[in-house]
Amino acid sequence: MTADNMDYVDVSSDHGSHPLGRRLTVAACVLCVVILVFALGGCWDARDIDHIGFIMGMGVDESDDGKIVVWVQMALPSSGPEGAANTPAWLGSAAGNTMMDAMSALRMKSAKTLFRGHVKVLVIGEKIARKGLTPILDYLARDSQFRYNSWVLVTSDPVGKIFEVEADQENMASSYINLMMRHATLSSVAPQSRFRDLLSTAAEPGDQPVLARVSLVKSEPEEEEGEQDEAQQGVWGQRTGNEGGKGKKGDVETKSDIEISGSAALHGDLVVGWLDPVQTAMVLMARNRLKEYSFLHMVPGTEGDTVGVKVLHSRATIELPPRHKMTRTGLRGAEVRIRVTGCAYIEEVMSEEQFVSIEADRNLSRGVSDQIEAEMESLIEIAQNRLGTDIFGIGEAVRRRISSDAWEEEIAPIWRDIFKEIKIIPEVSLKVERQGTTMTSPRPQA
């Protein structure tokens, strides 16, 4: 009803006019107030915040005996002044036949209720990822607490060791990975792999997801810092049940650090291989998900001269065969072009050539485009022959052009085979548009 028509005749004139009705109304109101006094105070189903364990990171992998192992990193807020108590987290793990089984076992090891509403990262081990993510997805997708915005990463290193890392910048590995992912996705060395992205693409054969890869790396050895730190480390060890990702070698500690670069390619729910950071950037470029991408371009005809280039805006379009050829037979061997256009900025010039002339600028644009094209060709070869998965989203482009029935009944079931036989041709045309705030490199004179 519109506002103009919202004038109602009063139909409640006899409301509460009867004495008995009035008494009943008062009695009902008193009863409601009494109930609310207890209910609003939380007397019925109170959950004290001190008894809730806020899980910040979860890890899943498969043990040698085929069981699913779950790790949780739980924040332990300190009541003392900040920094006084270095007890940032509790790392627990448990094994079970399924995710639910493992989580049930984990609950028995924790004095606090495991609350999954604050999970920032989910780290999946390679072993289980290569066997299939379905058991993990099923459990977490049903869980109303689990956050869809959590990052999902895959690692070939031991999952527990990832969570044991205590970086200088951030004590808790989960928070550290969360911060690193925000930067890694901005610079396109890792894909934006949130749980929601995985859920929405994993079921689409023509739109296979890539998940960010997290690895352990050895950081520079550091000298022992004294007894006080050693004692402190002892406290951490008790709390976290580990040595904080540090291993002692005499007086020198080798410390593990975390690196996020590259990605894992999926086919359905299986991880089928790894992509390095350059390949990951190419995938993101082909799928219009590239935020920025910096790389060194070797200047042709020089001895090791380089130009640092950043691609900031790119647009990829997939050119498919005519619609009548988009059948299960017509698509086999068909030509599909991935056209990429965009602009690149010069960030650094390590060459005598300063690219100020129109000709040099044009040559640089062509050279940069050729380099990207070559990297994309290499990735296409890997995707079609080694991985066998449509990481470019060509199948999704086909699905959008044909009827739903034709896609679901004829093409989707055999899309993986068709994808391997398609002739994919990349065509890259990037233009170098900006030179930075100086046209030529500063040349100090002695």
């Binding site: 028509n5 869809y148 959008r400």
Partner: protein, 355 residues
């Protein structure tokens, strides 16, 4: 507004899940087509109401078809409203319990629903309509905020191909949607309370159009965020799409806030349908005061709404409801209008004059 709330407030939770398997990517177009059918129903409802401006549904039916057949029509209307109340309550209670109140027994949430709906019905349709004025705007703003924050997560290409599974599936899904928009016939129970009865069809039509637009947007957003495969998998697409939305790191788990707001309009819908049901029953039984029926009807409805024990049974019941009730929603006002025209033709002048 009240009609808009009746049309969308419970249906939009799971509409995408029920429509997408039928129409594919074109499910949102089906909703719009269902809205067109809803507009036709709104016109029929408005025409009937204009012909009998001071009568409620049972009295209209009795005037046109005589007492016995009029009572039968009134009974079917009361049953229809009861089914809408029962299924609507169950759907919303399940959505809340599964998504948030995991440990709260279903009957507690159901009881809260019915206590609030009963109290609103006790106060009368005017109170319900005035509260609707307040909450409707808030809910629209909440949906708009969600819509804006969801933009980074949207993949518009997932709406392609526009034709989805083809014209016939789109029409089938449109008929299912028309069951939601057809719930506008509930307003036959309270349109007589309007002071300004000159543009009833337009008022009901506006409500249907607003409700349809909200449902179409919800379905389209669901497809763009989850894809057709994802939509068919999740229990309540509207809740899942709200879960996916996050503005940076400062607004997460916003669906809890939004569902609390949606809860308020769902109660308003159930309260108005509850009111329609008990006033129809009161007219059938020739009771002076409909309020005597609030307690027994509330208890019976609460018990009935507990019959679908789980989501699967609830969805099966909703699917049956959607499949068949569209015809009732079209037939009831059409039958009344035809009857009214025939009556006027027989006796000359307006049906009101003839009484």
């Amino acid at each position: 507004m009240l009609v808009a709330v009746i049309v969308f407030s419970t249906g939009f939770l799971a509409a995408a899940r029920l429509l997408t398997p039928v129409a594919g990517t074109a499910a949102w177009i089906s909703v719009l087509l269902g809205g067109v059918i809803g507009l036709v129903i709104a016109w029929l409802v408005g025409s009937v109401s204009s012909a009998f401006p001071e009568q409620n549904l049972v009295k209209i039916a009795e005037d046109i078809f005589g007492k016995p057949f009029g009572k039968v029509i009134g009974l079917t209307f009361a049953l229809y409203c009861t089914v809408v109340v029962v299924l609507g309550t169950r759907e919303f209670v399940l959505a809340i319990s599964i998504s948030f109140l995991e440990r709260t027994p279903f009957y507690v949430t159901t009881a809260v629903f019915f206590i609030l709906a009963s109290y609103a019905a006790y106060l009368g349709i005017e109170a319900i309509a005035r509260v609707c004025f307040i909450f409707f705007g808030v809910v629209i703003i909440s949906i708009a905020i969600l819509g804006v924050f969801a933009i980074p997560v949207l993949v518009p290409g997932r709406l392609l191909p526009l034709a989805g599974r083809g014209v016939i599936p789109i029409m089938r899904a449109a008929l299912l949607t028309a069951s939601y928009t057809g719930e506008a016939i509930v307003s036959l129970a309270f349109l007589r309370h309007l002071k300004d009865k000159r543009h009833v069809s337009r008022a009901v039509g506006t409500g249907v159009a607003i409700g349809t637009a909200i449902m179409a947007m919800t379905v389209a957003y669901g497809i763009m965020m989850l894809g057709t495969g994802g939509i068919s998998r999740v229990t309540y697409p509207a809740v899942e799409t709200a879960r996916m939305v996050g503005a940076g790191e400062f607004l997460e788990r916003g669906e809890i806030l939004f569902l609390a707001l949606w809860f308020s309009v769902a109660i308003l819908k159930l309260a108005s349908v509850f009111y329609a049901a008990i006033t129809a029953i009161a007219d059938l039984l020739n009771l002076d005061n409909y309020r005597r029926l609030i307690l027994p009807f509330g208890i019976i409805s609460m018990v009935l709404s507990s019959i679908p024990a789980n989501v699967a049974q609830s969805f099966a019941a909703v699917e049956h409801f959607l499949k068949y009730t569209v015809w009732y929603a079209i037939a009831l006002p059409a039958l009344l209008l035809i009857g009214a025209r025939m009556l006027r033709h027989e006796k000359g002048g307006t049906p009101d004059d003839s009484r």
